[in-house]
């Protein structure tokens, strides 16, 4: 368990953060720039001292203003991957990687150099200096360096924000692999919803220094009341699916979820692979009867659950497809014309090519993590 209850003042921002979450899998801190995300993990790491409060990780008190406890960063054993890498320029990649490892007592070294080098594919870089690395390579080395310190928890502060899209694609699979192979809880700070949907299990929403909601990602992303925080443009629901079939002829992959089947552009994944899919509200249309002679491949029968606050010209509908949430963003005019009401049976039309490919994340058995929590 990770328990945080801190307050602090940072210039204009009053940070009052209090939440508890399981220290398993990937916990994402999501909020706009300046919401206090980085300050919060700096407090966790011991780099910023809260004015008042308490931080407890798996039963160990890291900070407690009342009892006068404030462990220095080197005793907290939390790995930290910074946005800008922060590799030591005077050391080789190998020396960078081993910097934290050398300071871990031999008995507590679970992760070794060979494992990390293999995992991150950095064997060719070992003899180089950080100055001679590309942005993506630097970030991989920074990740490896933090892992080799054998931390109890890994903090990642927008580790991909400084990279362009191809470089992000280079790093994301490594983070997914970490989750699958190392049983290391991660706190991941980001303001990019696609990244979070792809990676996170638990979501912590921060706004103006306050925690607005904490819970499983699927649940929070489908709540209409949190939509202003999860982002208007980005609004959408997250579905957990499995790969159910491949259509080789047309290059399509079929995904099964609670509400039916979705056809998406080809994904090179084995049958049965669990996958998380994000469907943006603006890519979903509504029909009262199943349409014919239409190019859209995905027609999912749904029931209207809730109709969001009308902000002309748009309105968001929350639909339930066999229990799975889908959002649709339509015009207020269409809502009135079709006389849509909660409880009504409708058909959600989703363009295959609109499904957010960046957010297609592998779903590895998160139950395994949950079982191993303290």
């Amino acid at each position: 368990m990770l328990e945080i209850d801190v307050s602090h003042r940072l210039g204009q921002l009053k940070l009052e953060a209090s939440f508890t979450c399981r220290a398993v899998g990937i916990t994402a801190l999501f909020g706009r720039s300046g919401a206090g995300k980085t300050s919060l993990i700096n407090m966790l790491a011991g780099l910023l001292r809260p004015k008042r409060g308490r931080i407890v990780l798996r039963g160990q008190t890291l900070f407690d203003s009342q009892r006068g406890i404030d462990l220095p960063p080197e005793q907290r054993r939390l790995g930290y991957v910074f946005q800008e890498g922060r590799l030591f320029p005077h050391l080789s990649v190998r020396q960078n990687l081993l910097y934290g490892f050398r300071r871990v007592p031999a008995a507590e070294r679970r992760i070794g150099l060979d494992q990390v080098v293999g995992l991150l594919g950095v064997e060719d870089l070992l003899a180089r200096r950080p100055g001679a690395l590309s942005g993506g390579e630097k970030q991989r080395v920074a990740l490896g360096r933090a892992l080799l310190a054998n931390p109890r928890l890994l903090l990642m502060d927008e580790p991909l924000a400084a990279l362009d899209q191809p470089r992000k694609e280079e790093i994301l699979p490594f983070i997914e692999q970490l989750k699958a192979e190392l049983d290391l809880p991660i706190v991941y700070v980001s303001h990019s919803m696609p990244e979070i949907v792809r990676l996170a299990d638990t979501l912590v929403l921060i706004s103006n220094g306050r925690i607005e909601a904490v819970g499983p990602l699927e649940e929070l992303t489908s709540r209409l009341d949190l939509r202003p925080l999860t982002g208007r443009y980005e609004a959408g629901a997250v579905l957990t699916t499995t790969v159910a079939g491949q259509d080789k002829m047309f290059g399509l992959t079929e995904l099964r979820f609670a509400g039916g089947r979705l056809k998406v552009p080809h994904l090179n994944l084995p049958l049965g692979q669990a996958l998380r899919v994000r469907i943006r509200a603006r890519d979903v249309s509504i029909a009262l009867s199943p349409p014919e002679n239409i190019s859209i491949l995905n027609v999912i029968p749904c029931v209207i659950q809730e109709i969001g606050e009308e902000k002309s010209p748009q309105v968001d509908l929350q639909l339930s497809a066999g229990g799975a949430p889908i959002w649709a963003r339509i015009t207020a005019r269409s809502r009135a014309a079709l006389d849509l009401k909660p409880g009504l049976q409708v058909y959600a039309l989703i363009k295959s090519v609109a499904i957010d490919r960046q957010s297609l994340g592998r779903r590895d058995d998160i139950e395994r993590f949950l079982a191993e929590d303290d």
Binding site: P72, P73, Y80, F88, H90, V104
Partner: protein
């Protein structure tokens, strides 16, 4: 240039010895003061900064005279040093090294302070999260990264020490074989009839030694830079 005379060799050897000791002794103090001024905020920081820079603006003779007052046999610190350790600094080459160190100290501190301020403190916090203590971070991150600045400070101090005249002659006098460094030997020759030829030789010698020190530091600095970026 014809061979050096025994007197010239003596003056040169003494100068090098005085300058090297001056740098070696002031290096740890210079680092400490540079760190204090560059990284810490404390009451009296402006005062410390002023005192450190005093030798830069005071006439060297004044510094030498103050050293004599303080460290002479009758001086408050000098009498204690003599009574406790049997050490007497005036009129010795060790005293010359001290005078040179005091005069060169501001130059050394300035170079080091600039370099410590240029070290990215984010790298230091990163090292802390990797398990290094404050001292560990200083030794493994801060110190190596400020090495070019330490080198520059040391070379400046060395060159300044080689040329030290006013404070030296006031504090330790001009004793052949003990405190007569190159500049003092040069001064003595100028005071002597028919000494100009010898003075010129010493002047050329001084130029050569200083240039050699600068060249050596340049080579070292280049190597350091190559190590950082390559």
């Amino acid at each position: 240039m014809p061979e050096l005379t025994p007197l010239e060799i003596e003056a040169l050897g003494l100068s090098l010895r005085v300058a090297l000791w001056s740098v070696a002794v002031s290096l740890p103090f210079g680092l400490a003061v540079a760190w204090l001024l560059g990284r810490r905020e404390f009451y009296g920081k402006t005062l410390l900064n002023g005192i450190v820079h005093l030798p830069l603006v005071l006439p060297p003779v004044v510094v030498g005279y103050l050293l004599l007052l303080l460290l002479g046999r009758q001086g408050p610190l000098g009498s204690w040093l003599y009574a406790t350790f049997g050490i007497s600094l005036p009129f010795t080459w060790e005293g010359a090294a001290l005078a040179a160190a005091v005069m060169a100290f501001p130059l050394m501190v300035r170079a080091m302070r600039l370099s410590i301020e240029a070290v990215d403190q984010n790298l230091e916090t990163a090292a802390r999260t990797l398990g290094a203590s404050r001292l560990g971070v200083f030794v493994t991150i801060t110190l190596p990264l400020m090495l070019p600045g330490i080198l520059a400070g040391a070379v400046l101090a060395f060159a300044r020490s080689l040329g030290e005249f006013g404070a030296t002659i006031t504090f330790v006098s001009n004793i052949p074989g003990e405190t007569r460094t190159l500049p003092l030997a040069l001064y003595s020759l100028i005071q002597t009839p028919d000494g100009e030829a010898g003075a010129l030789r010493l002047a050329v010698l001084s130029v050569i030694v200083s240039l050699a020190a600068l060249a050596a530091s340049e080579v070292l600095a280049r190597r350091l830079r190559a190590r950082m970026s390559g």
